[in-house]
């Protein structure tokens, strides 16, 4: 109650310049004659035209064409043959043994990778948020692997995962653990990819750090005065304030793993025994391996719908349980 007047006063002063600017704009708009405004509109459309054309040529057009192609059988040599929903039936009925398998691999990967990204990202962000000297150095150190080319990273991790001479098993042997065969083991190949993906934690960490820094300091001070302990502050202030960020990271992870291709292609090519057969790898093999362009287009559309579904959950459901600032 006592805080309220102060609060509104703050908002009032902050908003005022913006409001006058808006008034000014409206006035100048009124002063402008119709022909000037028409010319502005033409210039505007003209300047935005490249993107609008690009959207039609490289996004909307191909998407619709892809939907059509998804209803055909097409090897790119003979003309496409209309088959209706047969491609989708083949997919979902299990005729294509690799469809569900690749979705399974992709989801298993997300289920391991996303929680690790959130938890490790949160730990790193909290440590970086402690305002100690050298924060910038540590932040760069953790971010650095994220900017490496995926091809270079794949080469590096293949070497690190080498069962006999690799760095990882050497490190484990120092702890007295005999490491597995990693990429050559059907059980450990996917966890190995998850470990590799942890090297790309940089953006998650930075977003979590920014989220931590956006938590109003008064909230912490007020709860400390009220005698809350560390766990209570974490549970009732930090976590709820971070929930949109966490949700964003999870969605990005799902999105990313459905588009994981290069490292799986180079490091394991889906093996051993399909343990790392990601969805994109399946799509690639159908399109550019077997040249089943029709079926691959159908796979691409299903992938698109899966991601759109998660984004829809992100935007709709997210509002129910995620704390969001009302600004």
């Amino acid at each position: 109650m006592t805080i309220e007047p102060k609060h509104t006063a703050g908002i009032g002063t902050a908003v005022q310049p913006k409001a006058t600017a808006q008034v000014r704009k409206r006035r100048s708009g009124k002063r402008r004659s119709g022909s000037l405004r028409r010319r502005e509109a033409w210039t505007g459309v003209l300047m935005a035209l490249p993107w609008m054309l690009g959207f039609l040529l490289f996004t909307a057009g191909p998407m619709l064409f892809g939907l059509y192609a998804g209803m055909t059988r097409w090897d790119m040599i003979s003309p496409p043959r209309w088959v209706g929903f047969q491609n989708f039936i083949r997919m979902f009925s299990g005729d294509d043994r690799h469809f569900y398998r690749s979705i399974g691999v992709t989801f298993r990967y997300v289920l391991m990778s996303a929680p690790l990204h959130v938890v490790l990202g949160f730990i790193l962000a909290s440590l970086l948020n402690m305002k100690i000297t050298g924060t910038n150095f540590f932040r760069s150190m953790y971010y650095l692997p994220s900017i490496l080319p995926v091809v270079a990273s794949a080469v590096m991790w293949s070497w690190v995962f080498n069962p006999d001479f690799g760095l990882l098993n050497h490190g484990l042997s120092m702890l007295g653990i005999r490491g597995p065969g990693w990429l050559s083991s059907p059980d450990w190949a996917l966890p190995a990819m998850v470990i590799m993906n942890l090297h790309y934690i940089g953006p998650s960490m930075i977003i979590l750090l920014a989220g931590l820094q956006r938590v109003p300091q008064e909230l912490y001070e007020a709860s400390q005065l009220d005698g809350a302990n560390r766990w209570q502050i974490l549970r009732h202030i930090t976590f709820p304030m971070l929930s949109p960020v966490v949700f964003f990271i999870i969605i990005t992870n799902i999105n990313g793993s459905f588009q994981t291709f290069t490292q799986a292609f180079l490091m394991t090519n889906g093996g051993p025994r399909y343990a790392t057969y990601f969805y994109m790898l399946h799509l690639y093999n159908e399109a550019w391996g077997a040249f089943r362009m029709g079926y691959a287009s159908a796979l691409a559309w299903v992938l698109f719908l899966i991601i759109v579904a998660f984004l829809a959950i992100h935007f709709r459901l997210g509002k129910l349980w995620v704390y969001q600032e009302s600004d």
Partner: protein
């Protein structure tokens, strides 16, 4: 009493800060040591590579490995191709996106906000849904084994870059532009003389993002560039890896040329590392912008 209390708080912060340092170092090991392992392998002789426990500092370091590795395959040619597929599209990414962004940020035209919301939607759409049809289109145009699939689409602007530049422009004061307009300057003049110079940092951000995306890209070059003399560095590196380790991916490989593979990997990753070190703040800031707006 008060003195003691203060001292204990001081002690507490001292301990928690020390603990933070220790943890930051321990967590840092898996982030940095693999990179050093690659660098160290790149400086070894072939016989020093498969040794247990590993040699960390090869003595003497074999700097000649870099030159030798560079000549294993036509990496000079690959470099030229990488530069072409990175920097020419970058011009489109930066300047065409800036032109489009200006229209969305400053000019009023019917349907603008609707078009912009379409742009936002395309930003979060997975690219793969357009990849196969675009590939079919480009192969019908006989653009396979040319650089056109990289260059032409870039000159229609990129949704994400347009979004970033628009955000930046909205935060620019528009007083100068208004004044120039009253003085009778045309939109083109205002854009080139006033807006572009103010956009410096934002254009740099887009250039960096564009560089990273295109220099590191593997999928598109693999699909569009099949002839050996057209391959980019990433394709060359992947090709060298499969050659050095035998086909079938990297698992369990033993190779007589692993040190050379690591040397070329180091060279190819180096520009990215240098750009990151030089422009860190851009990475940090714009990851945040893109994250919170989604």
């Amino acid at each position: 009493m008060t003195f003691n209390w203060r001292q204990s708080v001081k002690l507490q912060t001292f301990f928690s800060k020390s603990l933070a340092y220790v943890l930051l170092f321990i967590f840092g090991i898996p982030f940095i040591v693999p990179l050093l392992f690659v660098l160290s392998t790149a400086l070894k002789t072939a016989s020093q590579v498969y040794v247990n426990p590993p040699i960390w500092v090869p003595n003497p370091p074999q700097f000649g490995n870099f030159i030798q590795a560079w000549n294993v395959a036509p990496f000079g040619r690959f470099l030229v191709n990488s530069l072409i597929t990175t920097f020419i599209p970058m011009i489109g990414d930066v300047f065409v996106s800036a032109i489009v962004a200006y229209s969305f940020a400053r000019l009023r035209w019917p349907g603008r906000d609707a078009v912009f919301s379409v742009l936002l939607v395309t930003m979060i759409m997975p690219g793969i849904v357009t990849f196969i049809p675009t590939f079919i289109l480009f192969s019908r145009l006989n653009w396979i084994n040319t650089f056109l699939p990289f260059i032409v689409p870039a000159f229609f602007g990129g949704a994400f870059y347009i979004f970033l530049l628009r955000q930046f422009m909205l935060n620019l004061p528009d007083g100068l532009e208004e004044a120039a307009r009253i003085d009778g300057a045309s939109t083109a003049q205002i854009f080139i003389r006033i807006v572009l110079p103010l956009l410096g940092p934002a254009l740099a951000t887009v250039a960096i993002f564009s560089f990273m995306a295109r220099w590191n890209d593997f999928f598109a070059p693999m699909i569009y560039l099949h002839r050996p003399h057209l391959k980019t560095l990433m394709l060359g590196l992947a090709f060298f890896e499969s050659m050095a380790t035998g086909t079938g991916g990297g698992y369990g490989f033993l190779s007589a040329r692993l040190h050379l593979l690591m040397a070329i990997t180091t060279l190819i990753a180096l520009p990215c590392v240098l750009i990151f070190v030089a422009f860190q703040k851009y990475f940090v800031r714009d990851v945040i912008t893109s994250g919170f707006k989604l």
